[in-house]
């Protein structure tokens, strides 16, 4: 039995403690915005926030996040109004979109630690994979979001 708080709601979930958080979110709680991409914390499609920090939920056993605040893409805003989501819309970042929940969650956490990043900062810290190759627009959107959040 795991007690976790996701997007402000407490859940008591009857799963094996080693179950990755990703599959708890997707199959027990029904939050499918967080994606399965690789299962070994390589691609970042499963990125969520645990106590505000970006983690790759495919490789986080649910027992390790008990009592912590988990935020998924669905909990970022009610109406896609978060600055990062709005920047994504304006720059028209997503193509297939499968990696973008993770990209957005990684960006939100990244901008907290680096509110005014350079391209080099972005290149070094944003390591999520996008196979459609939205990187150029992603960089622009991160700068745009950063500017929106500073004002």
């Amino acid at each position: 039995m795991a007690n976790i708080t996701v997007n402000g709601t407490r859940h008591q979930i009857d799963v094996e403690p080693e179950t990755p958080l990703l599959w708890v979110l997707r199959e027990e709680i029904g939050l499918t915005g967080t994606k399965f991409g690789c299962g070994i914390a390589q691609c970042g499609a499963c990125t969520v926030h645990v106590n505000g920090e970006a983690v790759r939920s495919c490789s986080v056993p649910v027992r390790t996040v008990e009592g912590k605040q988990i935020t998924t893409i669905e909990g970022l805003s009610k109406d896609s109004s978060h600055a990062v989501q709005q920047a994504w819309l304006t720059e028209q970042v997503p193509q297939c979109g499968y990696c973008q929940s993770g990209q957005i969650m990684a960006t939100v956490a990244f901008l907290k630690t680096n509110p005014n990043p350079t391209d080099a900062d972005i290149n070094e810290n944003m390591t999520n994979i996008c196979r459609c190759g939205t990187y150029e627009r992603l960089r622009k959107a991160i700068h745009r979001a950063a500017a929106m959040m500073r004002t």
């Binding site: 199959e27 499918t32 690789c38 896609s80 193509q95 297939c96 979109g97 499968y98 994979i129 190759g133």
Partner: protein, 722 residues
């Protein structure tokens, strides 16, 4: 192309219409509002024929919502927006009311291919289906006008359609489309209306926001991976890791009594574990001891395959093209040069691992899957279930990338077979490892070039001996598969003596289309060797290409823009270089210049400039994003792409062993459109993936003098300063 500034609500453009000046709105909304009506799960129930269905492509509901059927699959390329954009051009509807919906594969089967082909590949959506949907939109518009004219008892010629309304010009009376649709559906036209001329376009050419993006920034968009159906169980699968092998035995005792595990399903070549949760199914599968029957293929490896493809270059081969007389010309050449190139097999690795939900019942089969080819999925579902195709239903979802991998829906056949055995709806999910190891790969290939020059350096002959595998051996005729020589037999370069010989070689490795099949490896080959020819002739690589393309003003125009925007010829510091590539594919001409920095045997691609002439541009931003994305996809292949075989099986398994381009590897990218409207509707999904490969290796040569004749780049000696 100028970026449009869109007003918050309806954007009204004034344009000249027949008979005078009218303000004709086209209903462009802001990006935030654009997709209010599009759905995060845009498939229909396959059987209903709403009363307001004017034709198979257009349904107008009483509240004026315009459902536009979409005869392709949205996997990132954006045609979920561009195809309705083309149809709306003729329909004269309010763009804010447009709701795209996947066309039904079942209906396409039972209704005599009413949607043509639903297959999504070959950069064909606009090229192949554009006119069909224009006609569908025009026909629906004329029938709406006819319905209104009938109600008013006036001539249709006195009425016009705009912004989802029909207006009777003399009296200014109007009906909304939603009031007319049911009557319009019953009207038969004497003849189909003529299509607009390009100078009349209002929608086509606009930088419209994509209709799917609002669902892709909040986790709402439903991919196959995200669906559940009532009563569903979950399956994890492993197929024999040696292609073509079969299941010998499986020891189930190790997973006895595991929580949630229901059943082990043995297929002839695979094992699946069924459980109530995916993680339980996958963990149990991992714990099984499985023995496979691999046969002779189980002893093969990449070194041997590479030798096979290179040795094949010495065979006689089949003539795929021959202009002039290459042998005679070479005999007279003042100078010849030769080079041999090769590439390994590579996998697709779309972000969403393959998956499908299948439900086989006594009287029907339902499959929920993100597939590039719903028509093929339907046939496969019928074969795997023994059901008639008319009783099979494919509910196509958003796909997390396809790139060709979702054209051969292996997961559909597996899911259907498993559902038939367990008697329940089954959701099958592949691991990333299964996706990398059970691909339908880009072929391994090799080529030997020989070029002959006259004494003044003019190239007079080009000879190519190409070995590659066929993705469809059953279709090979006279030793040729048109796909393996794509980009070699149809280059725009004009030489009096030009020959392509093809040697087809297949191993046990399954092959399939990989973004820009044929062109993908062949553009690397030919644009590298043409670069070699330029240096051999002591000519500037751009000017050398220009001379071979003197008969193509469209190419010259692309090159003009490329040279200017790409700073061709401007000096660069030591260790840096520019490489160029130009190529025509999918009816589009694309030129690229890559700038690289090489130091400590590492290459960094710093900037890429792309120029494209795709003829008529439907959505400039759509073209730009496809070229940017295609370039990155091809860059992954150039930098890292390498699937190796040992003991008959793929050695790589995930992004740690099969690396791809990440942000740090992604160059600053600029795209310029240099299109001449009206003459062509070129495809843009694939061309970007081809040219980046030679553009980068040509740039490395410019920087260090090291000519790379194999891919990937990673791990090779790049020359230059250390």
């Amino acid at each position: 192309m100028n970026d449009m500034t869109l007003s918050r609500r309806h954007f009204v453009v004034t344009t000249l219409a027949t008979g005078g000046a009218f303000a004709i709105g086209i209903g462009l909304s802001s990006q935030a509002d654009a997709a209010i009506l599009s759905s995060d799960h845009p498939w229909n129930d396959d059987t209903s024929r709403p009363a307001g269905e004017i034709n198979a492509w257009v349904v107008i509901q009483p509240d004026d919502t315009v459902i536009i059927r979409y005869g392709r699959a949205e996997m990132g390329q954006g045609s979920f927006t561009t195809m309705p954009q083309i149809l709306a051009e003729e329909l004269e509807c309010d763009w804010n009311l447009v709701k795209p919906e996947y066309a039904s594969a079942n209906r396409n089967f039972v209704d005599n291919k009413v949607y043509g082909s639903l297959s999504t590949g070959g950069s064909r959506a606009v090229r192949e289906q554009g006119e069909l949907v224009q006609q569908a939109g025009a026909s629906a518009r004329e029938r709406l006008i006819a319905a209104a004219a009938k109600r008013w008892n006036v001539q249709a010629s006195e009425c016009f359609a705009a912004m989802s309304k029909v207006t009777h010009k003399p009296t200014n009376r109007t009906f909304r489309f939603g009031e007319l649709a049911v009557e319009a559906a019953a009207i038969k036209l004497d003849k189909e209306p003529a299509l607009k001329k390009p100078d009349q376009y209002k929608f086509i050419g606009r930088r419209l926001a994509r209709l799917d993006i609002p669902h892709k920034i909040n986790g709402a968009a439903k991919f196959g991976m995200d669906l559940e159906v009532p009563g569903m169980v979950r399956a994890a699968i492993i197929k024999c890791p040696v292609f073509g092998g079969t299941l010998k035995s499986v020891d189930e005792s190790k997973i006895a009594g595991r929580r949630g595990v229901m059943q082990v399903v043995k297929l002839p070549n695979a094992v699946a574990v069924i459980a109530d949760r995916y993680y339980r199914a996958q963990s149990a599968l991992n714990a099984l001891s499985i023995e496979w029957e691999t046969g002779a293929a189980g002893t093969t490896n990449s070194t041997q395959f590479r030798k096979t493809y290179i040795d094949a270059l010495n065979e006689k081969g089949a003539e795929a093209r021959h202009d002039g007389n290459v042998d005679a010309a070479m005999a007279t050449a003042a100078r010849t040069i030769e080079a041999t190139y090769d590439v390994p097999i590579i996998a697709h690795a779309p972000m969403e691992p393959l998956n499908a939900i299948a439900h086989v019942q006594a009287d029907r089969v339902d499959v929920w899957v993100g597939t590039q080819n719903a028509d093929a999925a339907l046939v496969l579902a019928a074969q795997a279930s023994g059901m008639k195709p008319e009783n099979c239903f494919i509910h196509n979802t958003f796909s997390g990338g396809g790139f060709g991998r979702r054209l051969g829906p292996d997961e559909v056949a597996q899911a259907v077979a498993i559902s038939k055995i367990v008697g329940k709806p089954v959701k099958l999910v592949w691991t990333r490892e299964e996706e990398i190891r059970q691909g339908r790969y880009r072929t391994q290939a090799a080529i030997r070039f020989k070029a002959g020059f006259a004494a003044d350096g003019t190239p007079i002959a080009l000879d190519m001996r190409n070995s590659a595998g066929s993705g469809n051996p059953a279709a090979v005729q006279n030793g040729l598969d048109a796909q393996t020589t794509q980009g070699l037999i149809n280059t725009a370069y004009k030489l009096p003596n030009y020959r392509v010989l093809s040697m087809l070689k297949n191993t046990h490795v399954p092959l399939g289309p990989w973004r820009a099949p044929g062109h993908s490896q062949n553009t690397f080959f030919i644009e590298s060797f043409v670069d070699e020819m330029a240096y051999a002739a002591k000519k500037d690589p751009v000017e050398f290409r220009r001379a071979l393309l003197a008969h193509r003003p469209d190419f010259q125009q692309v090159i003009d823009v490329l040279v200017e925007k790409g700073d061709w010829g401007k000096p660069m510091p030591k260790g840096k270089g520019r490489g160029v590539a130009v190529h025509e594919s999918y009816d589009s001409i694309v030129g690229m210049i890559a700038e690289v920095d090489v130091r400590n045997n590492q290459v960094k691609v710093e900037r890429v400039v792309i120029v494209c002439d795709c003829g008529t541009v439907v959505n400039p931003r759509g073209v730009e994003t496809q070229l940017e994305g295609g370039m990155i996809y091809g860059l992954s292949a150039a930098m890292f792409g390498n699937i190796t075989i040992k003991d008959g099986r793929v050695e790589q398994g995930n992004f740690d062993t099969y690396p791809v381009v990440r942000l740090k590897d992604a160059p600053k990218t600029e795209v310029y459109l240099s299109s001449t409207p009206g003459k062509r509707w070129g495809g843009v999904g694939e061309p970007g993936a081809t040219m980046i490969q030679p553009a980068v290796t040509n740039a490395i040569f410019a920087a260090t003098g090291r000519r790379l004749r194999s891919l990937p780049i990673a791990g090779q000696d790049l020359g230059g300063s250390v």
